[in-house]
Amino acid sequence: MLGEGIIQGLVETARNFFGSYVEKDRLTTVQYPEERLPLPEASRVFPFLLYDGKDPDAGLRCVACQICEKECPPRCIHIEKSKDKKPDFVGKMQVYPAVFDIDVSVCMSCQICVEVCPFDAIRMDKVFELSTDNRFRKLLYTKKELSKPNEYYQKIHPLEAAETDERRAKEAEEAKAKAAAAEAAAKAKAAAAAATPPVGEASGNGAAAPAKLAETKGSPQ
Amino acid sequence: MTPLAGCLLVSSLLFSVGLAGALTRRNAILVLAGIELMLNAANLNFIAFWRFGPHPEFLTGFMFVIFSIAVAAAEAAVGLALILAIYRHARTSDVSEITEMKG
């Protein structure tokens, strides 16, 4: 009959209206600044720089290789290399960024910098409340603001961080082993150099080169 | 001047304004508006005569105005419908351009 559907609709809205005062389920809104939904593990916004240990300057993983600066599609990263060097996590001497700026108003959170970084130095953050009243100063993030400890990374992306840490630990071990081996080799070499005369070395090299050439020719390619 | 004379003067002035408009304006709608103004001036006369006349209790002038308003509504509706029909026909509502029935 005419008007029946209208009454059904009115009943439904009335149920919603009065139900909203008794049933919590009828109000699905999350009151954002006070209540927050937990962010999913995979959520990622804006990059940050990782450092190991306590000191952001000493432990910074970035070696100012500038790959991310070149790869960044909107060109929001600005890096200036340092003049001096400091040891990295394996003890190798590396340059470090004297200036590392990211303009977060330009950054589009594409994550390419993270993918190209060979040093696990830059990672995606989970912050998104970056709005500010000063668009010139406060949206340009400097090295100081960008540097965050590895513990923070472990907190926001635990699975990824564990994987990275494991790999890095292995690398460090390998590097150490290599260093030890190199040291041992160097020592052995030094001992050998002390034993054999230098002429024999030169002739040995000359004999090895033709043999290597023949090897490549013989391969099935 | 008595109130009746005042009313009549206002009404005659309004009538003249309506007449001038109906005679001089070339848009058919405004001609109709002028005629409406003249009709209204007449209505004001009726009200004035009813109000200041000898027998207001008979409501004669009053009733005349009521009926006149009804007639004016009908007149406006038909008149504007005519103007619309003519406009659709001749693509103009200028009375001096609608000359097809001129002898």
């Binding site: 005419l2 009115l10 809205t13 209206f17 109000l27 809104t29 | -």
Partner: protein
């Protein structure tokens, strides 16, 4: 009952007291000024309250909270809105007709406030007791259409002109059922005076008031009146003059800041006015429904009923989608108009089926009620079947809804 009586008349007494302190030549002026000021202050405050309650109510109907940030539970939201609309830049289109553009909101608000003059908001609480009260209400309301046209035309924007044309067509179409459904009440009451219509309904038989809404023609007339009133005030589901998705905002697109707020105000004030008239005509005005509750002050009854009506408007807005233009017009001319005429017929039958014709009170009253109800209900069924022919819809299932 002395205290109840004085509580009822407290504002009247206050008015008399203030006017008594004014020098004699200015007493009429003072009483006018007080009445006008009271109407403007009270109903503008009600407007402020309604805006926040409407948004909260709609929110609750749509499973969300609504505004709850400004003040406790968001109740200071109107203040924030007022500050916002007052401090906004007043943009006027370059090619707009500036004078008309400026005048339109003023005319609209002025005209809408004028109609409150004949609404009795309580016993002895009316600005002007006109002998032709109901006619005055409709006559003054007729000028709103012109104001809407002024706004739409002067903006020099095709959407605002379209919106204005829609609004005028809608208002004219629904004015007819609006007036015709109140004709039934006027016929039975035998007067156009709003005060007398209320007094007529404030009589009690066996403790129950003679409200028009408890008669079959009154109930049908009330429903038809409210439908027409919803359309007349351009409220959802008849809000297509301002359909956001089709013509952006209708006739007030080109208004901003304070002028836009005036349009908003006028819309709500008009809604209150029409609700007030519906209360006066059908819901017994300031009278209580049962005689043992008559000690509650009359103005509280009126405003309580007004709030209930406002809730009804919000409820309907939260429920129904917008109509299409052809549906709107068909509904007005093919359903509302015949039904209002039938309501008038039924009211006439009610008038002549007096106890002398149908017999003494209890049984005679029931017979009278049933006969009049049948006169309305049978045509309604026929009309409904005719309108629904060819429009029967199967029950729809939505693939992605569950």
């Amino acid at each position: 009952m002395i205290s109840a009586r004085s509580a009822d008349q407290v504002f009247v007494a206050l008015d008399h007291w203030i006017v008594g302190h004014v020098p004699a030549p200015f007493q009429t002026l003072a009483s006018i000024v007080i009445a006008v000021a009271m109407i403007i202050v009270v109903f503008a405050a009600l407007f402020a309250l309604t805006t926040v309650f409407e948004r909260k109510g709609l929110g609750r109907m749509q499973n969300r909270y609504g505004p709850n940030r400004v003040g406790p539970w968001g109740t200071f939201q109107p203040l924030a809105d007022a500050v916002k609309s007052l401090t906004k830049e007043d943009v006027v289109p370059h090619r707009a007709d500036h004078v008309v553009h400026y005048l339109a909101p003023l005319v609209l608000v002025g005209v809408v406030f004028l109609s409150y003059a004949v609404l009795p908001v309580g016993r002895n609480m009316i600005a002007v007791d006109l002998d032709t009260g109901v006619l005055y209400f409709f006559a003054v309301g007729a000028a709103t259409e012109l104001a809407v046209f002024m706004a739409g035309w002067s903006s020099h924007n095709k959407y605002s002109l379209l919106g204005a044309m829609r609004a005028i067509a809608q208002m004219i179409s629904y004015e007819i059922p609006l007036i015709l459904s109140s004709v039934a009440v006027i016929m039975i009451a035998g007067t156009l005076s709003t005060v007398k219509i209320v007094e007529e309904q404030a009589r009690y038989t066996a403790g129950i008031a003679h409200w028009n809404v408890i008669t079959p023609w009154g109930l049908a007339g009330f429903i038809l009146f409210m439908i027409a009133a919803t359309a007349e005030t351009n409220r959802s589901p008849f809000d297509l003059p301002e359909g956001e998705s089709e013509i952006i905002a209708g006739y007030f697109i080109e208004y901003s800041g304070f002028k836009f707020a005036l349009f908003f105000l006028a819309e709500y004030i008009e809604m209150f006015a029409v609700s007030g008239l519906a209360i006066t005509l059908f819901l017994g005005g300031w009278s209580s429904p049962v005689s043992f509750l008559a000690w509650i002050p009359s103005w509280l009854w009126f405003f309580g009923k007004l709030l209930a009506m406002i809730f009804g408007f919000i409820w309907v807005r939260g429920t129904m989608p917008r109509l299409r233009m052809d549906q709107l017009m068909n509904f007005a001319w093919k359903f509302m108009l015949p039904m209002t005429l039938i309501v008038i017929l039924s009211a006439g039958i009610w008038r002549f089926l007096s106890p002398a014709v149908v017999g003494p009170r209890p049984l005679g009253g029931v017979i009278r009620w049933l006969v009049c109800a049948l006169v309305i209900f049978a045509p309604y069924i026929l009309l409904a079947r005719k309108l629904e022919r060819g429009h029967s819809m199967e029950k729809r299932t939505y693939r992605f809804a569950e």
